[in-house]
């Protein structure tokens, strides 16, 4: 686990940025694309696309393949899966906590209504 933690952090940072998430969506839909093709489909400059691709490449989320003079990018699905898990961990924690808060508050309110004095006694 230790070896993967800082990697998780990179992954999270890489897909946590909305423009990059969007770029990944487009790349997933197309399967394979050159930076220029991506720039045409997205409201980013060619330069911004290259920057985002560099971050995603460093995080291992995409890889480039050379076809003659062209460089095409593809998504690495197994890494993307790890990224989505890393992103979801903290969210899941909060889901669980909010569920618990809801249960506790609703139970306390039910008790309070059925026996107005119990609220004070519970404290």
């Amino acid at each position: 686990m230790t070896a993967t933690r800082s990697t998780d952090e990179d992954l999270w940072a890489a897909v946590g940025e909305p423009s990059r998430k969007r770029l990944l969506d487009v790349l997933l839909a197309r399967g394979e694309a050159t930076p220029s093709a991506l720039a045409e489909e997205l409201p980013f400059t060619r330069q911004a696309v290259s920057k985002h691709l560099a971050v995603l490449d460093r995080a291992g989320l995409v890889e480039s393949r050379r076809h003659g003079r062209e460089v095409r990018y593809v998504v690495r699905p197994e890494r993307l899966d790890a990224a989505s898990q890393a992103m979801a961990r903290a969210a899941t924690q909060w889901d669980r906590r909010l569920r618990a808060i809801k249960e506790i508050a609703e139970a306390a309110y039910r008790d309070q209504r059925s026996d107005p004095e119990q609220k004070e006694n519970q404290r």
Binding site: M1, T2, R5, S6, D8, E9, W12, A13, V15, G16, E17, P18, K21, L24, D25, L28, A29, P77, L80, D81, S84, Q85, A86, M87, A88, R89, A90, A91, T92, Q93, W94, D95, R96, R97, L98, R99, A100, I101, K102, I104, A105, E106, A108, Y109, Q112, R123
Partner: protein
């Protein structure tokens, strides 16, 4: 600068004051968050959250606007003052919806944090128990890909 935040909400069938108590009173916090909690509930107030298996984490209260807003910073390097950039901000907002309470929590700050790797590792570790997927369209893609791969 990369922005990351987590946003979650729920509708609770209880009035604001009841939910406020569950969110902010240490004896209640123990029931949904920690094994033990101490909290000085005012801006700048200190607190400590602890778990039997994971030790204690310090927190610093940011804003207290009963019964609508409670926020604190946590996960900052030991011995330093919590601020933007070295900590996570957790913000609870409570809104009345016809006698019920809409509770929202936003946790933000990870990407702007300038911790060393050890601190980041600690954070990720503290968030790593149990997970599901919530990443929207990317997840749908992944699920679809797995389906079609069968």
């Amino acid at each position: 600068m990369i922005q990351n935040h987590i946003e979650r909400e729920t509708l609770i069938e209880a009035p604001l004051e009841v939910v406020w108590g569950v969110v902010t009173e240490p004896s209640q916090i123990n029931r949904w968050f920690t094994d033990a909690a101490q909290l000085d509930l005012r801006p700048g107030g200190r607190g400590e959250l602890s778990w039997e298996n994971h030790g204690a984490v310090e927190l610093r209260v940011e804003r207290v606007e009963r019964p609508h807003l409670f926020s604190f910073r946590w996960l900052y390097p030991e011995g330093s003052e919590p601020r933007d950039g070295n900590s996570m901000l957790v913000e609870f907002t409570l809104r009345d919806e016809g006698g019920k309470t809409r509770l929202r929590v936003v946790e933000s700050g990870l990407a702007t944090v300038d911790w060393d790797d050890e601190e980041k590792a600690k954070f990720l570790d503290s968030h790593s128990r149990g997970w599901e997927r919530h990443l929207g369209s990317l997840d749908e893609y992944m699920a679809a890909q797995r389906e079609s791969a069968r």
